[in-house]
């Protein structure tokens, strides 16, 4: 039996006529007796939906109050759900992303190592540059002012034991280095050359127990002898100081120039403590060297001497050499002072 379909449901006939026939057949179908109410409700629902669709086009600007309410209420839950979704996605895809991350991680690690290496190298070069600059400043400034010709050398080895204080430097006879030349740096006296090979030289540090340096206390002009104590690098001892000498903590000890090995006026250290020697005839004092013997990397070897500058020319030299700084008594601890310019050594 032919039926007339409601306009809104014509598409059903178009797409599946057999199904539509069943639905709209009066006998067994939906449109049979008693189903009229349902059909009307169904129609209203469809029309309502189509109307709503018509009013909620995608290009409208505002949202309806109901939409707004629903969205606002759902927003937190949506947020949670989305968050959870992200996590779950991350969890599920984690094993797959690991492959990429692992590669990326390796690349990054390689890059970080490379950059860290460059930073370390750069720091090392900067530090070396600073040290060499200090030495150069010392050579052209202090050493020149006090009339010493010096050449720089690097420390390449140290005594393997704990009894002696010896270092090996990378310059030898072919660089003009000879035995008994004085070794120092910008801080003060280090020692003297004891033996020389073609390209290296051994330096006896003033901390070595076999070392003896003729010295005097700058403030009182009292003479003495600075000796090392085993390899203990933080202290040396000044012995044979005449009884009655006034000794104060912080007094500066400099080379005396006696014995013609060490030039006069090179700073050695400051007096820490003093007391009578066991014989009772002299005083001895513990001296803290200006030089840090644990961190010797570059040194200067005094190769010759000239006439030093006038006193006015050395007044601006840095501590512990110069006149600019003052000691505990308010006087200059500088090693090179009027009357101490006899730094000329004959070799």
């Amino acid at each position: 039996m032919d039926i007339k379909f409601p306009g809104a449901l014509l598409f059903l006939k178009r797409y599946n006529i057999e199904c539509a026939n069943k639905i709209f057949t009066r006998g067994d179908g939906v449109f049979g007796k008693g189903n009229t109410k349902k059909i009307i409700l169904f129609g209203i629902l469809v029309i309502f939906t189509l109307t709503i669709m018509n009013y909620t086009e995608f290009d409208r600007v505002g949202v309806s109050p109901m939409e707004s309410a629903v969205r606002d209420i759902l927003a937190p839950a949506q947020g949670l759900a989305m968050n959870l979704g992200h996590r779950l996605r991350g969890l599920v895809s984690f094993p797959f992303t690991l492959i990429n991350i692992s590669e990326e991680n390796q690349l990054m690690k390689k890059r970080v190592n490379e950059l860290e290496g460059r930073i370390r190298l750069s720091e090392e070069l900067r530090s070396e540059n600073d040290r060499l600059k200090k030495l150069l400043d010392f050579k052209t400034g202090v050493a020149s002012a006090v009339g010493l010709d010096a050449t720089g050398a690097a420390v390449i080895g140290r005594d393997p034991g704990n009894w002696f204080g010896m270092i090996t430097i990378n310059k030898g006879s072919r660089h003009g280095i000879k035995a008994n030349m004085t070794v120092l740096n910008d801080q003060g006296l280090i020692g003297r050359i004891t033996s020389v090979s073609s390209s290296t030289a051994e330096v006896l540090l003033i901390t070595d127990p076999r070392s003896g340096v003729g010295s005097l206390i700058q403030e009182t002009r009292a003479p003495g002898m600075v000796q090392g104590e085993a390899s203990y690098p933080g202290k040396v001892r000044m012995v044979h100081i005449p009884l009655g000498t006034e000794l104060g903590r912080g007094h500066v000890v400099v080379t005396s120039g006696f014995g013609s090995i060490y030039p006069k006026g090179i700073p050695i250290g400051r007096i820490q403590e003093s007391g009578r020697e066991p014989s009772g005839l002299f005083i001895s004092a513990e001296v803290a060297p200006f030089v840090d013997f644990n961190r010797l990397e570059e040194v200067m070897v005094v190769t010759g001497s000239r006439t030093p500058m006038a006193v006015s020319g050395i007044s601006g030299l840095p501590h512990p050499w110069g006149q600019g700084n003052t000691d505990v008594r308010g006087r200059s601890p500088g090693a090179v002072r009027s009357g101490e310019q006899g730094g000329v050594i004959n070799r």
Partner: protein
Amino acid sequence: MRLNWFFTLGIALFLQVTLLNFFPVLGVKPDLVLIFVVFNAFLRGSGHGAMVGFLGGLMEDLAVGSYIGMNALALMAAGYLVGIAESKLYKDSPFIVLVLVWLSAMFTQIFTYIMLSFMGVYISLGIALFRVALPSATYTAVLVLFLYRRFFRSNQEGLLYVRRI
């Protein structure tokens, strides 16, 4: 390889005169060459210990050039004495070796002190004992805890292994 121990000795000496200077404790540094001599002596006996000790000490002396032969004698004696314990003590424990190294270090330091006195280098006994011998022996002995197991394994089956016929 039979000469591996010789190269190891060279490396120990190289580190001794260079790198270890940057890690002083109480002004002293450890004696890596002595550690190597004691390890060898303890694992291979008096003869080998004395030989390694002599060569190690001689290399030390030559490296700096003061009193050539003094360290050679001291380390040879230490190597020989430790070697006597080779068949008498349990070899797996680093603590036994630690004690041996400490005793050997004290022995070599006192030996050196006596030799120096004979040669006219005067150092007060207090400084010699408390500023040099004790701190350096203790520092050296502590290093055994980090080095012995590795050396022992290498000696059993690694680079330092020597087949005994």
